[in-house]
């Protein structure tokens, strides 16, 4: 034990003597550990964000898009040729018992104006089921009514961001704003949901009755809709709800057994899972890069330790002649390599935490430094010291005292 601390002290001393060399040597390990720490912090933050997104959207939400799943890409633009109709959505809530609500939705990007202020946002046309599906309440005022939906009333409910941009500190309730070219009355302001896991502001929206959207915003009559958002009565009923939707829509669209569905049902869990998979893939990539960096760092440590052993051949000879056993020499150089690598690891940890915090402060990303990853990264750095320090240390330990003493 005493020998151990002697060796640590000795190693630190030789490190301080060769500051520049030590710094260059540990650079690889430093970068490796820093990237492990930072990437895991960013990855964990993203995971947490996705999970909170999951919670904010609701675990029981299903989306139905028109078009076969194989076509991929963006779907559901308002007014696009669509296999889904308002009646499909109504039928779903009526005839699929595992669904609690089913909202037909149209949406479009538009300019909203109030007085001299204007703001670019997204406007959604839907029914009251929209609020049920999303389990979303107003924080101020109320929702539009079924009667408003029937009569295409010029009313709207706005998100917190829109309220702030158009009305500032003033109350929005009862005020008139223009959505596109339609003037409408603000009935209520939705509770703030904050930013979503995909970086979008969930409060940046205007919701109008579906009929109002059709006749006064998009000016496209008909029954077609962009997509359906439905909710299962219980998260456990998700797969049954998905089956029910598929069966009913195939029936309504008169598709026979082998025909491909002209719509796609996705539950939010799947959407989030695919995002999570992407995140995991990126994390893995970063981990690979970090591992390569650590490997290069390890080779750097080995290289410098070999140089150090050669430089200090005479010292090794002196130590052997006064009674050091080969295992003492082995321990000395091994500890030196581990100390070197660990210093790199600790510096990398500091850099990684610092980088994570800077990313967290300057971007909208959530970062979460993982204590276990941090400890693991430093431990790995130490382990690299052991692995890559062993060969040089063994070379030192195997020296013959007479030859070593004669070395100039």
């Amino acid at each position: 034990m005493m020998m151990f601390w002697m060796a640590v002290r000795l190693a630190l001393r030789s490190l301080v003597r060769n500051k520049v060399r030590a710094m260059l040597t540990v650079l690889g390990i430093l970068m490796g550990v820093a990237s492990v720490v930072a990437s895991s912090a960013i990855g964990a933050g993203a995971k947490e964000r996705i999970e909170s997104q999951f919670a904010s959207l609701g675990v029981n939400v299903l989306m139905v898009w028109p078009g076969a799943s194989a076509t991929g890409g963006a779907r559901g633009a308002a007014g696009s040729a669509s296999g889904l109709t308002e009646d499909d959505a109504l039928a779903l809530s009526r005839e699929v018992p595992s669904l609690s609500a089913s909202a037909p939705i149209l949406s479009a990007s538009t300019q909203v104006v109030s007085g001299s202020r204007n703001w670019s946002t997204r406007v959604y046309g839907s029914t009251l089921d929209y609020f049920r599906v999303r389990a979303w309440r107003t924080s101020d005022g109320g929702l539009f009514t079924d009667a408003d939906v029937r009569t295409s009333a010029k009313v709207c409910v706005i998100g917190e961001t829109v309220r702030r941009e158009l009305f500032g500190d003033e109350s929005a309730l009862g005020r008139t704003m223009r959505v596109g070219r339609m003037p409408c009355t603000v009935l209520g302001v939705m509770e703030s949901k904050g930013q979503s896991g995909f970086g979008q502001d969930q409060d940046d929206l205007v919701i109008v009755p579906l009929s109002t959207f059709r006749t006064r915003v998009s000016h496209r009559p008909g029954r077609e809709i962009g997509f359906v958002m439905a909710s299962a009565r219980d998260p456990a009923l998700m797969s049954r709800a998905e089956e029910g939707i598929t069966r009913l829509l195939r029936q309504r669209h008169r598709l026979s057994g082998t025909d491909e569905s002209d719509f796609t049902v996705r539950n939010m869990a799947d959407v989030i899972k695919s995002f999570d998979e992407q995140r995991a893939a990126i994390s893995l990539l970063l981990l690979v890069v970090a591992s390569i960096s650590l490997l290069v760092g390890g080779i750097g440590v080995m290289n410098i330790m070999l140089v150090s052993v050669t430089e200090r051949t005479r010292e090794i000879g002196i130590r052997l002649s006064i009674g050091a056993r080969s295992r003492d020499i082995l321990a000395q150089f091994l500890i030196e390599a581990v100390v070197l690598a660990s210093v790199g690891g600790v510096a990398g940890l500091a850099l990684g935490i610092g980088a994570s915090l800077i990313v967290g402060m300057t971007t909208s990303w959530t970062v979460k430094v993982q204590p276990e990853t941090a400890i693991l990264a430093v431990a790995v750095a130490g382990g690299i010291g052991v692995i890559f320090g062993f060969f040089p240390a063994r070379r030192a330990a195997k020296m013959d005292p007479i030859t070593a003493l004669r070395h100039e």
């Binding site: 006064i322 009674g323 007479i402």
Partner: protein, 251 residues
């Protein structure tokens, strides 16, 4: 430190042979050397280069294993030991002084002298104490924290002697201890060794090629062609001139 008292054999070597073979070339560095050295002796080993005196010294110092023959050190058979066991023997029984001082650079005199005790697992406090005592013995009590670069050649060799003495060895092995020193410092180191031999009964084996230096020993062994050519008592060892204590205080 061993007392002068009744002389007893410290080094007993019998028919020691050392053969180096490198492929076809076989070099018999020692060809059957027998030698007994008693406690309290100051033995000088001389001989031309290539005579085998260094090989003999390495064998006595347990830095090397003989090819044949037996070697008993302080009563223990040490001829067949492995590297780690020989390291232990060097640490317990032997003290080394080299021509090139062989101190650790950028390391204080005190720490240099402590080093053999580190490998004995002695606590830091006791190490400090014993190292300081050894340095006091060689007259360097006021140079404890100087590094070799801050010491003169003579002072460095004194530190090396202190390092050799700190473990209370059975034998002090000095390999050309004055080879790197000027004549005045040579006298200084030799008188220190004579003092340690006479007053503390320290057994010393010294290899040198300088007859003037060798004449300070009380027994002179001449090695030639891997054999002991002459082994004689020196009736009247030359007394090294103890210089005035000025060099000891050089920077």
């Amino acid at each position: 430190m061993s007392e002068a008292g009744e002389p007893r054999p410290v080094i007993e070597i019998e028919k020691l042979e050392k053969i180096y073979s490198q492929g076809e070339i076989v070099h018999r560095a020692l060809r059957g050397v027998s030698l007994t050295i008693n406690s309290g002796e100051f033995v000088g080993i001389i001989g031309p280069s290539g005579s085998g005196k260094s090989t003999l010294m390495n064998a006595i110092g347990c830095l090397d294993t003989p090819t044949r023959g037996s070697y008993r050190l302080a009563g223990h058979d040490v001829s067949g030991l492995d590297a780690d066991a020989r390291a232990l023997v060097r640490n317990r029984f032997l003290g080394f002084v080299f021509q090139g001082f062989n101190l650790l650079a950028r390391t204080s005199a005190l720490e240099n002298v402590e080093l053999p005790l580190v490998y004995r697992g002695i606590s830091q406090r006791e190490r400090h104490l014993r190292a300081a005592r050894a340095l006091a013995l060689v007259g360097l009590i006021d140079r404890l924290h100087n590094t070799p670069a801050q010491l003169s050649g003579g002072q460095q060799q004194r530190v090396a002697i202190a390092r050799a003495l700190v473990t209370d060895p059975q034998v002090l092995l000095a390999d050309e201890p004055t080879g790197n020193l000027d004549s005045k410092t040579t006298e200084d180191i030799l008188s220190l060794m004579q003092l340690l031999n006479r007053e503390r009964g320290l057994t010393i084996v010294m290899v040198t090629h300088d007859p003037e230096v060798a004449r300070c020993a009380s027994r002179l062994i001449t090695v030639r062609d891997g054999l002991i050519e002459r082994d004689e008592r020196v009736a009247n060892p030359r007394q090294a001139v103890r210089p005035v204590q000025t060099e000891g205080h050089a920077p």
